[in-house]
């Protein structure tokens, strides 16, 4: 197990390094420059000096080596547009994205699980067909579009939720911590629902298939034959064994949540990694773009690694196979 873990970790580091390298060269080779951001009309002279100050006038290979050297010392560089160390900007953004992704993951899995089980139990009946089609509809929706619709309906028309933002900037500083947390949760609801609903639609389909497969197994028939109540058969005997695909889904959910967050954060003015990355890409803020790719790829690789480990822990057959190989 340890050797396997070490091998996976080494592979993970190699993947992250590859992503960083590709991102570094792509963003530097893309047309445009850090001086080209829309609000600015910096004079070419000021621009030239700034480029020299940041070393952007040097050969790309030299910049890359310098970047890797700094990175190996834990230095992510300084943001051209934000006037601050990239590490500080990321430190502000990452918790916000994790909060959003965590809440969305919760909605995704809880709702997806419940719907999947319900659909499997009522397979090919009216409820299953309706939920299947509604799920397909949600799964096909672009997240930013769904976000805009939710904003329009529940915030602008119904006024049930705030129109974007992460908290009420007027009241939150005047409230107790608990009330401020509640306010933040209120602001979190729609963006988390946007990401969570789209994810849950996919999760439900996986879960339905897994449940249907398990429900046809002999041990489920045996449980029924023993006279157990159907609820116990489904929730204890069948569901527990149908949960393994969930671990795979957990690994797959990370890239989806991170890419989805890019647009959802912009629509809902949620100040996370997604918004930071999008702004940095438009501003050609090279260090922030590369660092965002580093963090995002790191999170995805770690998520998958965690899924693999959990899988090995949950399913002894996999653990044994990996130890043999």
């Amino acid at each position: 197990m340890t050797a396997w873990l070490v091998r996976r970790l080494a592979a993970a580091i190699a993947i992250v390094l590859a992503v960083v390298t590709i991102t570094f060269f792509l963003i530097h080779l893309a047309p445009g420059s850090p001086c080209g951001e829309s609000e600015r009309q910096l004079s070419p002279e000021v621009c030239r000096r700034l480029r020299a100050q940041f070393g952007y006038d040097r050969p790309l290979a030299v910049q890359y080596v310098k970047y890797l050297w700094a990175l190996s010392h834990g230095d992510l560089g300084e943001s051209f547009a934000l006037h601050r160390p990239v590490a500080d900007a990321l430190a502000d953004a990452i918790p916000n994205t994790l909060t959003l992704a965590g809440a969305a993951l919760l909605i995704d899995f809880v709702l997806g699980l419940a719907l999947g089980v319900y659909q499997a139990v009522r397979a090919r009946r009216f409820g299953d067909v309706v939920l299947g089609n509604v799920g397909l509809l949600f799964n096909s929706m672009p997240t930013f579009w769904l976000g805009l619709i939710l904003l329009l309906v529940f915030s602008y028309w119904r006024r049930w939720f705030p129109l974007g933002g992460m908290s009420d900037p007027v009241l939150c500083p005047t409230l107790s911590t608990l009330r401020c947390v509640a306010d933040r949760a209120w602001h979190l609801t729609l963006p988390a629902l946007t990401l969570g609903l789209v994810g849950a639609a996919g999760t439900a389909r996986y879960q339905r298939a897994a449940m249907l497969e398990v429900m046809a197994q002999d041990y489920v028939r045996t449980a029924r034959a023993k006279g157990l109540r159907e609820r116990r058969v489904v929730l204890v005997h069948a569901l527990r064994n149908a949960l393994l695909p969930f671990i795979t889904l957990f690994g797959l959910a990370f890239p989806f949540l991170l890419t989805g967050a890019v647009l959802v954060e912009t629509v809902f003015a949620w100040s996370g990694m997604g918004r930071l990355s999008v702004t940095a890409i438009f501003q050609r803020d090279y260090p922030v773009v590369t660092a965002s790719a580093l963090v995002a790829s790191g999170m995805v690789v770690l998520g998958n690694l965690l899924a693999d480990v959990l899988y090995a822990v949950a399913d002894p057959r996999i653990r044994v196979r990996s130890e043999v190989t």
Partner: protein
């Protein structure tokens, strides 16, 4: 019936406790004339709160509340002489001789850490703004000032290289005075990322409180501000990147103000909101279709099409600018008679322009040899079709609309126009390097036309912001004379002549100059918006005691 289990009872109990805590009423807060929390929604956050290293409007909106200038421009936006300027840090000033300007600082002025504002702070500020290492975007605006010295602790002295009408404007408008005692230790190479820039200490009506990156920024009124305590106690900016969502936040009551409503649809929505008052004011933005007169940015090689002045004139006459303006902006813009922003006092509707005359445009094209020889609707000459590409940034929905409408109008006179829709960063790089045929460019200049027109339209701007590479010595001379004119009437006449020379040459088709519309919650009284700096006079705004809401009264 079974009694609830212990764990269920604990869960219910905890929930009730949580609800009770969350539902607790706050104690009553601020009352009287100096309360009020004012929430502004902005579509971007500042980059840094250190004036010399940022030229971002969003940063200036905030720093203008924290740092004072020596004096500021008046509502007339007159930049000539010093009559229309309002004292701020300097209570008065006088000219020792035509090249020496002496300010007298208000002895009551102090930094928010209690230290007095001194002439040494002014000299230090000039030193920073003109330092090549700090590389301030405003450095070139101060090149006419040779030195700033101190006569005593309250008397900074400005020396100029030469005499010109906007000396006073240059001396006071670009620099916000900085606290030398706090900033002197910061190495010049590290000014861009100085910690001070994220938690500044100023001398203005508001002091910095907090900045949640990407989320919000809060300032609090300085009750000891020497020019009078601001009525609004808390100033908060919320950052919402999407303008349409930002406008809806104001309409829904989630925010109190937005400085620019943008597209006409947003204005209609805001007009229908009963709690809002709309404030129109002249905008700084103007836009044009610029013809590239060079090939690939090389001014020695004329553009194969636009090197010909007669062709440019024909194309300019083919465009119904008024129709385009109505279609895209409705009432929120005017067709400018040249490269003019609405806020400039030199705006003169009498300026001679090329008429909208498609018949004459067609005749001229035919006379130039551009004929539709194969009947495909596109003119050609020597086997070459009359075609060019318009470069337009995807970041601007309004300019994209203009591009499509222009494409159609040019098609009607037999020109085949294709659009290059590119990301803004790419757009900027291509216009700067001259890799375009025609481009839809917008400018957002300072209150003074002199520096902007010189940089964008004269020989001095070649290699800089004169992206169309148009040079006309007669125009350059007139601009120089207009900039040197000491009387406004004379200056205005010279500017008009300059723009008439330009219009005859048609290096660009001037399409729009915007009028802005701000929306502010109606409980806020005394609202005056200065066109060049929307929130500059905010310290004089107030919320009457009987209009205060719970949000206004909430205590931190």
């Amino acid at each position: 019936m079974r009694a609830p289990s212990w764990s269920v009872r604990r869960l219910v109990g905890a929930s009730v406790l949580l609800l009770a805590l969350v539902g607790c009423e706050r104690r009553p807060g601020c009352t009287g004339d100096y309360c009020g929390a004012f929430l502004i929604v902005a579509t971007a956050q500042p980059d840094v709160l250190l004036p010399p290293v940022t030229d971002l409007q969003y940063a200036r909106d905030v720093t203008d509340q924290i740092f004072l200038k020596l004096a500021d421009i008046g509502l007339s936006e007159n930049t000539i002489g010093d009559e229309d300027f309002q004292p701020l840090l300097a209570e008065r000033w006088e000219w020792d001789d035509p090249l020496t300007l002496v300010f007298h600082l208000d002895p009551r002025a102090h930094w928010q850490d209690g230290q007095p504002v001194t002439a040494a702070d002014v000299a230090f500020t000039f030193d920073i703004y003109t330092d090549s290492t700090v590389n301030s975007p405003f450095r070139s605006n101060l090149r006419t000032i040779s030195a700033v010295t101190t006569r005593d602790s309250l008397t900074p002295v400005f020396r100029f290289h030469a005499r010109y009408p906007e000396m006073f404007y240059d001396a006071v408008y670009h620099m916000r005075i900085l606290p030398a005692h706090l900033l002197r230790p910061v190495p010049r190479t590290q000014w861009r990322s100085a910690a001070f820039g994220r938690a500044p200490v100023g001398d203005g009506p508001y002091r910095f409180v907090s900045w949640k990156a990407g989320e919000s920024l809060e300032l609090a009124a300085d009750s000891a501000f020497f020019l009078g305590r601001p009525h609004i106690r808390r100033l908060i900016w919320r950052f919402t990147p999407n303008l349409d969502v930002a406008v809806k936040q104001v309409i829904a009551g989630d925010a109190d103000a937005v400085e620019v409503l943008g597209q006409p649809g947003n204005v209609k929505l805001a007009r229908a909101a009963p709690q809002l008052t709309l404030y129109p004011y002249p905008g700084a933005l103007y836009g044009f279709l610029g013809f590239n007169l060079s090939t690939g940015g090389d001014t020695t090689k004329p553009h194969p099409l636009f090197g010909d002045r007669r062709l440019r004139r024909a194309l300019a006459m083919a465009v119904d600018r008024e129709g385009l303006r109505k279609s895209v902006w409705e009432d929120l813009a005017h067709v400018p008679p040249g490269p003019l922003a609405r806020l400039w006092w030199i705006w003169d509707p009498e300026t001679r322009e090329l008429p909208y005359d498609t018949a004459q445009a067609r005749r001229m094209l035919t006379w130039l040899g551009w004929r539709d020889s194969n009947g495909d609707g596109i003119r050609d000459k020597d086997g070459q079709p009359l075609g060019f590409r318009i470069l337009v940034p995807t970041s601007s929905a309004l300019r994209l609309r203009y591009a499509r409408l222009l494409q159609e109008q040019f098609r009607l006179v037999g020109a085949d126009v294709q659009l290059d829709e590119v990301e803004f960063s790419v757009f900027n790089e291509r216009v700067q390097s001259g890799r375009f045929d025609a481009a839809l460019i917008s400018r957002n200049p300072d209150p003074t036309p002199s520096s902007s027109v010189t940089q964008v339209w004269t020989h001095a701007g070649i290699g800089g912001s004169n992206y169309v590479r148009w040079v006309n010595p007669a125009f350059d001379r007139l601009v120089e004379q207009a900039g040197a004119a000491t009387k406004r009437d004379e200056a205005k006449r010279l500017w008009r002549r300059a723009f008439e020379v330009m219009n005859d040459d048609a290096p660009a088709i001037f399409l729009f100059s915007t009028d802005n519309m701000a929306a502010v919650h109606r409980r806020v009284q005394g609202v005056v918006i200065r066109p060049d700096s929307y929130w500059a006079l905010l310290r004089t705004w107030r919320i009457p005691a009987d209009q205060l809401t719970d949000r206004d009264r909430a205590e931190r």
